[in-house]
Symmetry: C2
Subunit: 434 residues, 2 copies
Amino acid sequence: MRDLLIRDVLALTQAAVCPQAAIAVRDGEIAYIGPEADLPPAYAGLPVYEGRGRIAMPGLVNAHTHAAMTLLRGYADDLALHEWLTQMIFPAEARLTDEDVYFGTMLACAEMIRSGTTCFADMYFFMDATARAVAESGMRASLSVGMGSGAGDVDGGRAKLAGALDFCSRWNGQAGGRITTMLAPHAPYTCSTTFIEDVARAARASGLGIHTHVSETAREVTEIVTEYGKSPVEHFEALGVFDVPTLAAHCVAVSERDIDIMAAHGVRVAHNPGSNMKLASGVAPVVDMLAKGIAVGLGTDGAASNNNLDMIEEMRLATLLQKVSTGDPTAMPAAECLTMATMGGARCLGLEQLIGSLEVGKRADLILVDHSLPHMEPFLASRATSHMVYASSSSDVSSVIIDGSVVMDERRLTTIDETAILAEARRRAAVLVE
Amino acid sequence: MRDLLIRDVLALTQAAVCPQAAIAVRDGEIAYIGPEADLPPAYAGLPVYEGRGRIAMPGLVNAHTHAAMTLLRGYADDLALHEWLTQMIFPAEARLTDEDVYFGTMLACAEMIRSGTTCFADMYFFMDATARAVAESGMRASLSVGMGSGAGDVDGGRAKLAGALDFCSRWNGQAGGRITTMLAPHAPYTCSTTFIEDVARAARASGLGIHTHVSETAREVTEIVTEYGKSPVEHFEALGVFDVPTLAAHCVAVSERDIDIMAAHGVRVAHNPGSNMKLASGVAPVVDMLAKGIAVGLGTDGAASNNNLDMIEEMRLATLLQKVSTGDPTAMPAAECLTMATMGGARCLGLEQLIGSLEVGKRADLILVDHSLPHMEPFLASRATSHMVYASSSSDVSSVIIDGSVVMDERRLTTIDETAILAEARRRAAVLVE
């Protein structure tokens, strides 16, 4: 059913609220959105999907995650970053197989759909398995093979880049256009300058964007400044990374000059407040980035450092953290936060023409949210945006539509055999950390 | 049904995890908790309440809220504290009636039960209406009439204190012992020294505790230091407030000396991270307070500054905020956070002998949590504490038992006519802010 008519819904998009709206979808595209009273007769005959008692809003876009890390959820908490990574996460990841990644990603897709996420940006290993899970689950995603390559690893680096380019050529535009791809040099501290230059050159040549981690911690900045005499942002700029559309995750420890550089090059930022708080990485200066016109989206990061993939929680963390860290309760108001989690994410993934808002001509990636439970009351249309950002729970998401297809219908997943996936994920997780 | 036997459950209390546990409840009291294999035969015949696939843990204790403020949820956000209070909240509160408070509190009770809270500390107006809602809903609560009284208001202050003492004498121990009471001088900046001394004297004479707001913002501290030459904590100490068991909400802007004073007097602290973040009040030094042995509980504050009453969200905010603000990812580990939200809250309310943990002889205030959804997977017993603190959602709470009575049975409230309460709350909220 990629044709449908959602009736009597409260539509919420880009800070605009339209009660008693109708949304007509044809071939997975939004053909009409507006007052139901003004619905053109041509759409009146579409199959009706009930919207009464629901908020309709753009699907949430998770701008940075490592989906398969759901298998490591709760495996290692309350540790210092270095110990967490080197003693717990890296050894477990070294044992990962492509089937682990498939099942971990399917678990992640089930969780993301249930919590209203329709699209995500992923960087990990065994990305063919990830792509397969995306295709099957019905989600939309921008996928990239995570690549690290040190100075002594010239041949290895070339092989990794070739593999990643091959992945992009095979998967870009697949799953009915729901899959897009990027190149992902992991971070300035795991990639040599030669390798980064090679990746940037390949990205330019092939028209691909770049997805990477930048300035996640002050320690990283100190290391990069010591080694190269430049901040990570300056380093990437000098190596030509920012000559292609770049999605930079974290950007916690960035200077005003870094922000100016990012703004000048149109670098997009994935802000991950939950992960940054849990690992005590610090607070990204998001208010400053937005003031300089940088496109900022929200990401959950992997479930090993969050520990869920709940974008509604991430919205709340983002605005609360900006308010308390700037000392300004007016920082990041509700509508701005909601836009960041939807349109901001779409811009991060270079999909702003396609998704991120409810507009005629865009793909129908949207969610319906039940506002009938006590924590959403008193429900008045004027409070809809506030309630979504400050009061709602991801479990309020009742139905999820991606590219016009209903992938969750009143809390029932239609594309994923949840029982089987959960059992297999649990089994594999236990083996992985034995 | 105040006798029951919960079987085949994973019991979680005070950092201890017991899979395949049984919990026997007789006359609302925990008679047995431990491995089901060791269940004494005397309890085998109790009515069975199914626990399979559930975590059983102590009910969450909301150590500081103003329940009826649910009516103002989403009414005023993203404003500076002074503007928020004086232009929006105070004028709306001036129009409140006792029936508004009853319906607002019933809405709050429905929300709290649904999110696993079994007990709360409330300070507000029209507290008879609040007490009636507590009695009807089956919740446990420590109630106090909020009192402000300036220097020129001697007679008014005496009348308020007399009214509050009358409230305490009528309601203390009511609702089968589920209601207890405290005296609540609102804050150092809304109460004259004479009034505070009068309240402290009355509390000593009547054996009542005190519930108050202390050092919520740096601005408050500056004002009190300017007026009295003492910090709010020093000021309260000098006036004899801390000679009775005191529950101090917020304690954001406290010095090391303040913390020492609070520790010396056994002052209990209600930490409200969500409200402190939203209003940009700052970060309470909870790690330091805990290190000095202070009893710290978690509170949501009112729904006008949070904007929900979700204690699971509050746990997550508490630990994430301490980690990022101290720069230490090992700060406030999961088990400590879970204990704070249960036993810590019980200590705040002076109910630590009665509730806050699952122990033989305590009242049966406990919740069952469904761990079958994707965001709680992979579910292994060793990850139960981590999942509760870092991954779970309040909607995972499936059943709630207070004083041995099932007040929520598989997401269905048994004591509250939710449809009627929600409709009436919505109607009254609209009138209130017209």
